[in-house]
Symmetry: C2
Subunit: 422 residues, 2 copies
């Protein structure tokens, strides 16, 4: 069995509800890719007794404890100090960490003196290994704690709290460290499967799992845009055959290895072809455009978008005939088609998506329930119109409508030769 | 001193990173409004030993323990069973809960039989008080545990895991229960202060806090759109005077009591006046439209939007002169003004916002750093153009750009008589 891992997230703001704790999920999904699920996570305020209680709870449950938060320069950053005192270790200044702090300070505050408290971040428990922080001043630490009867062979990994520092350090330092040190750990692979539900992905995987006689561990994690599928095995042969099986089973649904979202994949596919995309959104109200432009550099592909949330704007911005709206309604395949045709005139592009539907909670009529969405997709002159019937909250309906349209466009880009839609 | 409260969030998905745990923040911010910060939160998988370990840890630290998750009908919903067994209580069926389950099942699955396992949700530990769940089948529970030497006078409040069930139950049942039972607890009030940083809000509050001689507790929680400001006091007079002080100190910045976001407040203000809003977004790429249309019923106000992420689309959709783009650049006050003027022609409306800027991480040039954003706001024929210099990540720059523009529009709506902009 592999070592157990426990997590501690430190910071008043997590308990006050000022900040949603994304660090646990960021750590959890990276460990899952290694085939490990943390046994617990504890959030505590920046107080000595609370941190020590969380530490004892976690050290009793796991060989490796990962902490986030409390490594910064202010008075409430006390993680290192309390962990060192709990382990009977003194803090000493690390030269390399001090240099990195000076470098970062000068970059951000070229004309200001460094306040002495900033150098507290270079103090580390005796014997700790430094993890470089490329996005901030507080280094991370790996500390093999001195053996005690109660807690023999424990390791504490300390990371800074800001997610934009923690995530890169997990990737650059902690995951490679765990890959080297976790017992029995060997091979892992992550896939992104789009266009299928988690249950379907699980079901299709059953024969693969059966064939591998418990030498393969498979984990799933559903996001709004796709299912993350993780394979772990100790055998390179089993791993090789499982990878091949996944690639065959999900030939039509696997995203490119470097695409961490459907919008990312769409951007890459179009960018590779030197093509552009335009959007016309009704029920999704700008969400598709937002998801595309979340990605730096998307301007090379994104030709432009319109958000036509009202009938009037569908006519004014996209030239949807009032007759179409009256006869078929704003939520109809006919309106979706008219939107994508109007979009072609307003924003010339190689690919175009139009979405219209009922995100709820209001707006349902007889025969048109909440969650009914029509999408029209145009690619290289061919147009496809289709209907989605989505469930759950307004937010989830909007997310899934965008994911559904992006997935269909991806299919049309990858299979441009298939028969033209009606 | 008030009772201490600890939180336990149960579910494999939290530790696998499949789901970000928003329940802790949802619980935390509601407790903060009561003047209480939880002493800890523990996330554990749906396993007996892990749940019992979290329970012992939490009962040792707090008089009240709030749990989320594990109350549903499937095999891994085990919270009630393990908590009851830990307390030496038997589970028994609650008639009212069983009826509510039947009602919800029939609404969602009118033609299907109820599987017997669904009724597991009506089993409750002997003596527990039922909390009604209007959004799902699993009831919440308040259980005063039998006194033991180790844990006397403890209360366990169990809530379902889905956030769309947990949050309404916190508001409808748990907060009122705590208001009645928490010792020394009396008066609370929440304000939303927009357009100021958390530090400024804190600073302005210092004299108020000093004047109240520790009879007033003040807490802050910064969001992307505003600072949440919580007042708590045991004295009605102190509370009354503090409320008045806040209303005077932040006369220009306080949102309406029922506005839980700036977009919400903008919608209400315009709806009350029978007016409409149009948007032209460059760097924010649809985020402003998305935030507006997150709110059901926004179609009454939102006339339409365009996302002009490229120079070409600024010209094609908004008629921004190529000359303006060449001479001043896409990120300039002149372009912002041309965008909002073009928007007036493309989408007639009473209010209009245009945003253009550099969200980063790339795109900076000499004199135009990442975070530089120009906004043009038109309201009732008057146009104001202003510049924002924002910091941090791409996501935060985009959020703050939208918040800045919404806040200025709010000001123009509330003060239509102030002198016209240049």
């Amino acid at each position: 069995m592999s070592e157990r891992i426990a997590v501690i997230c430190i910071g008043d703001e997590l308990l006050k509800g000022a900040v949603v704790n994304t660090n646990l999920a960021s750590i959890g999904v990276r460990l899952l890719a290694l085939g490990v699920v943390p046994v617990s996570s504890v959030e505590v305020p920046d107080k000595r007794d609370d941190i020590l209680a969380a530490l004892d709870f976690s050290l009793a449950r796991a060989e490796i404890v990962i902490t986030s938060g409390g490594l910064g320069p202010t008075a409430d950053d006390v993680t290192k100090e309390y962990i060192a005192s709990r382990c009977g270790l003194r803090l000493e200044e690390d030269g390399a960490a001090a240099l990195n702090i000076m470098k970062h300070w000068k970059m951000r505050h070229p004309s200001e003196e460094i306040p002495p408290r900033v150098f507290n971040q270079a103090l580390v428990p005796h014997g700790a290994k430094i993890l470089q922080n490329d996005c901030g001043t507080a280094p991370g630490l790996i500390l093999k704690t001195p053996d005690t009867d109660e807690f023999p062979g424990r390791t504490i990994i300390m990371l800074p709290g800001p997610p934009n520092e923690l995530c890169p350090m997990m990737d650059a330092s902690v995951v490679p460290y765990l890959k080297k040190t976790l017992k029995h750990f060997t091979f892992t692979r992550e896939f992104h499967v789009a266009g299928l539900g988690e249950n379907t992905v699980e079901e299709r995987m059953l024969p693969v799992i059966a064939r591998c006689h418990s030498q393969l561990s498979v984990a799933y994690c559903a996001t709004a845009q796709f299912v993350r599928l993780f394979l772990t095995s100790e055998s390179p042969e089993i791993m090789e055959s499982a990878i091949q099986a996944v690639q065959e089973l999900f030939a039509a649904e696997l995203l490119a290895d470097d695409a961490d979202s459907l919008s990312h994949e769409i951007l890459h596919l179009l960018e590779d072809r030197g093509e552009t995309l335009a959007l016309a959104e009704s029920c999704t109200g700008g969400l598709a455009a937002k998801l595309l432009t979340d990605i730096p550099g998307s301007s090379a592909v994104f030709a432009g978008g319109v958000v036509t949330y009202s009938d009037e704007s569908k006519t004014a911005l996209l030239g949807v005939p009032a007759e179409t709206l009256r006869k078929f309604g704003a939520v109809s395949g006919e309106t979706a088609r008219a939107m994508v045709e109007g979009l072609a005139k307003a924003v010339p592009s190689d690919a175009a998506i139009a979405l219209t539907g009922i995100a709820g909670p209001g707006g349902a009529t007889i025969g048109k329930p909440v969650g009914l969405v029509f999408a029209a997709i145009r690619y290289r002159g061919r147009t496809e119109v289709f209907e989605l019937r989505l469930r759950r909250t307004r937010e989830q309906i909007r997310e899934r409508a965008v994911a559904g349209a992006f997935f269909r466009l991806r299919d049309m880009i990858l299979n441009p030769a298939s028969e033209p839609g009606a």
